[in-house]
Each structure stands twice: as structure tokens, then as C-alpha cells.
Symmetry: C2
Subunit: 255 residues, 2 copies
């Protein structure tokens, strides 16, 4: 079993060597810029799930890459003036500051389409279908975020953050050919990850759940989500130790 | 064989009844707005190709719908202030004028993801792969358009317009299970359609090819592209009469 750090390295090497569509020409530069510097947590969850389910993590690299491309697409578009209007991302100028709004808009579009190209390198449609559904749910969450007023925060994050985390597990199940009858506990695990990640992020940033409920209550929410995620892992008859490490290290970040 | 008008009706009925992803909520309204009012020429080419290749056009409706969704996505994003900054589209306010820039941006994203969802309802990955490749080529053309300076106009349109027209034929070939060894003349036909459509459009609008080369030379280009398209159709051992009608009616529009 490869440790999370090794899976991050695997992801970075894969993304570094990833050949983008030649016809994109110089557009590729803005896409690689937008893709650089992430924590790769979605990719790591996908790779670790695939290995726990019995296949080499390398087999899941196109799926993991697709998840990171969808995540990068969502950040590039979210940062645009029409949405969050953020000038900085991952400690650097946002894509639209670095390349202009038009190129950044197209970079996001191209990242999304490339993500499908990667998910479509598998022999069945299942990974790409899961990616499409998750992306649509995520966009539904972004819509709630900009229009929602007093939307239920849990529903918003279940869509905006949770759907792609859940798909990080889901894509790995398809890649590893896990029979659908056995998806239950794996997917229950995946469902908790988005909530866990979001609460942890909010505690670290002092916003969202932490601002609304206070840091102590938010930390308690994170421990509970982590507990449910680990309980789901215990129902899986496989070595899920790396996934457990990922959950625990997320919970610990808030402590 | 169904005539082009009947295929337009089939497409409109399909799009009217198309269920979008429920989690998109009220975002669906902007998507349907952006999708309304097109000429459906890409869908009609897809449906007519499928019928010529031996399957009921209804079988190709999800593919035809996916092409129209990708086209609508590209128009919504193209119209945004960051790109062409067009306030009108199809005789109505552009999506970002009607719904605001943020919602229009997300509407485009969601149309693209829904297009993949539709293309992924087929049993193999081939239609969705063709759609992804065409979309990426199209985005490459959009990038050339905004950054290109004195780019070769033919190369720009081959990507920006041509790739999706070529895919209108290509998706139908996959849907109809035409063996790859027989794709040649069909794809040669598809390759001409984008050029033909673009030149015709420019003659009618008095820009692009017509502005650069003069209306007479542009009309001659349209006749030549139409001639090459029909020559490709003659190499196909099937009833391609409806496709020929589509080509001829495009050429006639410039006369």
C-alpha cells in the first residue's frame, strides 16, 4: 500500500507528463498554470481507494487526473469577476489575472473537456458518467452559492464540495471493477469526505461552518464526520488503512 | 427518409422534453433559455447521417442533443464580456444580459457537462470521446480567435466551427455502428460541412471570408465546398439524399 505522500507524487508526475490536446496550442499554458499547486486530495483519495479495492493505483491515474482537472476548472471559473472575483489562488495570481479573463474562461472550459477525455480512456462509460453527474451536482452547488441567500449550508456543500469527493471514491470503484452490489460502504465513506473536508477547511480559514457555529462546534462536526467515514471503512473487507490515515490526518488538522 | 424539417421538429421535441440534472435547480432556466431558438443544423446533420447509415434517427437523438448543448455552451461563453461581449443572440438578450454574468458562466459549464451526460447514454465510450475531442478542438479555435492576430482564417474555422460539424457526422457513425473501415467518405463529407457553413454564414453577414475575399469569391468557395461534400456523399453506398439536400440548401442560401 502506497502512503498518501507517494500518491501525491504519483499524481504530480502524471499531471506533469499529461499531454493536452495539441489543437489547444498556447491555451495549454494557462491550463497548466491553473492545474499547478493543488494538494491533490481528490486524486489521492481516488488512487488510495483503487489500491484498497485491489488494483494498482497507476490504473486509476487517468481518473485521478480527471478529478483534479474538474477541480481546477471549477476554481478558475469561480475566481472570475463574474463569480467570486478572487485575484489570488494557491498563493499566486488567479488565472484571469495572469492570462486575462477571456483566456481564463476558455482554460476552464478546456480543463473540463480534457477531464472527460481522460475519464473516457477507460473501457466502459461508467467513470465518465460518474464524473458528469458529480460535475453537474457541483455546478448546482455553485449556483446555490451565488444565488442562494439563506440556503442550507450542508446542502450547498454536499453539492459544491461533496459531489466531487464522493466521485473520487466512485471513479475508483469503476476503475477497480468493484461489483455494484458491494459499492455501499465505499460510497458511504465517500459521502462523508466532502463534509469532513469542508468543515476542516472552514475551521482553518475561520469562515463557513466555523463562522456560523463557532470553531468548537465545527471541530466537533469534523470529528463526527471523520468517525462516520472510518465506521464506513470498517464495513469494507479490504485493507483500507491508507484511507483511514487520510481521514485521521484531515481531522487532526483542525485540532 | 425524414426531411430536414421533420428532423428539426424531432430535435425540438427531444430538447423540450429533455430532463436536466435535478440538482441544477433554478439554473436550468438559464440553460433552457440558452438552448432555445437555434437552427439545429448540427442535430439535423447527425440525425440524417444516422438514418442514411441505417438506424432510426430517434436512436441518434441523445447524440444530436449533445451537439446542440455543446453549441449552446460555446455561444453562452462566447457572448460573455470577457470574450465577444455580445448583448444579443438569436434576436434576444444574451444569457448574461438576461440572467447575469455569473449565472450565464455556470449555465455554459452545465450545458457542456450535460452534453457529456447525453453522449454517455450510449453503450460505448466512442460518441463521448468524439464529442470531447471536437469540443477541445473548438476551444482551440476560440483561443486562436481571441489571441490570433493574423491567424489563417481557414485553420481558425476548421477548429472553431468545423470540428463540431465534423463530429455531427462522427457521432452518428458511432451510434449507427458503422465499421471504422467505412468511415472514410462519411468523414470526408463531415470535414467539408464546417467550411461550407462558415462561408455561407459570412456571405450572409458580409464579414469573415466575404469581407476578406469579396462576396463573389466567397460564394465560389461555398460552391466548391458544397461540390466536395456532395462528391464525398457519392462515394457512400447508402441513400444519402437528405444529406445532399442539406448541402444544396446551404449553398443556395448564398446565391
Amino acid at each position: 500500500m502506497q502512503a498518501p505522500d507517494a500518491l501525491v507524487d504519483l499524481t504530480e508526475q502524471y499531471l506533469d507528463r499529461l499531454e493536452l490536446t495539441p489543437e489547444l496550442g498556447a491555451q495549454q499554458e494557462s491550463m497548466r498554470y491553473a492545474l499547478a499547486g493543488g494538494k491533490r486530495i481528490r486524486a489521492v483519495i481516488c488512487l488510495a481507494t483503487a489500491e484498497a479495492a485491489g488494483v494498482a493505483p497507476e490504473r486509476a491515474l487517468p481518473a485521478a487526473g480527471a478529478l483534479e482537472l474538474v477541480h481546477a476548472f471549477s476554481l478558475v471559473h469561480d475566481d472570475l469577476p463574474a463569480l467570486d472575483n478572487d485575484d489570488e489562488r494557491r498563493g499566486r495570481p488567479s488565472a484571469h489575472i495572469a492570462f486575462g479573463e477571456g483566456v481564463a474562461l476558455l482554460a476552464g472550459d478546456a480543463l473540463l473537456a480534457e477531464a472527460f477525455r481522460l475519464a473516457l480512456t477507460y473501457p466502459t462509460t461508467a467513470p465518465a458518467r460518474e464524473l458528469a453527474d458529480a460535475t453537474l451536482g457541483m455546478i448546482g452547488g455553485q449556483f446555490l452559492d451565488i444565488t442562494g441567500g439563506d440556503t442550507d449550508l450542508a446542502q450547498l456543500h454536499r453539492l459544491k464540495t461533496g459531489r466531487l469527493f464522493a466521485a473520487s471514491v466512485g471513479l475508483a470503484l469503476w476503475v477497480a471493477d468493484v461489483p455494484e452490489a458491494e459499492h455501499g460502504p465505499w460510497r458511504a465513506f465517500g459521502e462523508e469526505l466532502g463534509m469532513l473536508f469542508q468543515v476542516v477547511d472552514d475551521v482553518l480559514d475561520g469562515d463557513g461552518y466555523a463562522a456560523r457555529l463557532g470553531a468548537d462546534v465545527a471541530r466537533q462536526l469534523a470529528r463526527e464526520a471523520g468517525g462516520r467515514a472510518n465506521a464506513a471503512l470498517e464495513r469494507i473487507e479490504a485493507d483500507t488503512s491508507v484511507l483511514r490515515t487520510i481521514v485521521d490526518s484531515l481531522v487532526i488538522r483542525t485540532a
